[in-house]
């Protein structure tokens, strides 16, 4: 098993964005680590159809994803991992999933959430989680589609006051 890409995007498998990344890294399987969607048959169904042709999907809870990814659960696959936000990512790492670089996509803007970039908003817990990932030496790159402009997201979170 090779983990080719770890992306944080609150839309998870979302045709517009996933297509390019899957093909770019040659992923054969998308692992969605999300507690809410794992319980929701309707969302799971929609997401399966949103995956590009020929690519397998595993839509499971963060705990199940962590266990599988930390213990070579998909031995023949090149895997793209999708998580909703930095806290889910932190849980995957705590479960032993090796993460050195994270592709940061869209993270939900909502009232009470501060915009860190055009695409990424965070509440204090999210910001703390990002900063912990930064402190752990994880490279954070905010980038929309393959070949698009890359923002050094480590710098963005370091520039914020620690919470």
């Amino acid at each position: 098993m090779k983990i080719a890409l770890v992306r944080v995007d609150d839309r998870l498998i979302h045709g517009q964005v996933v297509l390019g990344w899957v093909r770019m890294v040659g992923a054969t399987r998308i692992v969605v680590a999300d507690d809410d969607v794992a319980k929701d048959e309707m969302q799971k169904t929609l997401m399966r159809f949103a995956a590009p042709t020929g690519v397998e999907t595993s839509i499971v809870s963060v705990e199940e994803a962590g266990a599988a990814l930390a213990h070579d659960g998909f031995p023949d696959d090149t895997v793209m991992v999708l998580a909703r936000g930095p806290r889910e990512l932190a849980r995957l790492m705590a479960a032993g999933v090796p993460v050195t670089k994270v592709n940061v996509g869209n993270v939900r803007a909502a009232p009470g959430r501060e915009r860190l970039t055009k695409e990424v908003a965070a509440d204090p817990d999210d910001l703390a989680a990002w900063q912990a990932l930064d402190a752990a030496g994880v490279t954070l790159e905010a980038v929309w589609i393959p070949g698009g402009a890359v923002t050094d997201f480590n710098r963005v979170v370091r520039a914020r006051v620690r919470t």
């Binding site: 297509l19 390019g20 093909r23 770019m24 048959e41 309707m42 159809f49 590009p52 393959p146 698009g148």
Partner: protein, 150 residues
Amino acid sequence: METPRIGVLVICHGGLAAALLETVSMLVGPPAKAWAVGLMPGEGVEDLETKVRVALGRLAPSDGALCLVDIPGGVPARVAGALTAGTGRAVETISGVNLPMLAEALLRRDDADLPALAELAVRAGRDGVVDLGAALRAAAARAAARSSRS
């Protein structure tokens, strides 16, 4: 990304090809070596042939070309089909172009030769046609069956 060895031509009635190519860049970024050719109202076979030849002329002689046309019958399909044989260039033509097909064709050019790329594009185009309503009703039925068991 290196320059692809296969050019992609989207050839449709009206403004569809241009719209598809413009829209697909939202998904995969601005594509290299890809052109849209439209058969506009009042134009005939010769007009479209000329436009297609101009587009093909931008390719290196050794480059292959994948033509994606809108419907299996019609001038775009005829013009592209005529190029598939007898031009000395490797050309494949597929009808029923949609966004999944076009995105796949643009993204897979580095890891497939022309016949393989045509197969991938056909598959992606077909897989893009899904009765989501039926799938969602089936999913809802599964969820209901599970909750009634527990």
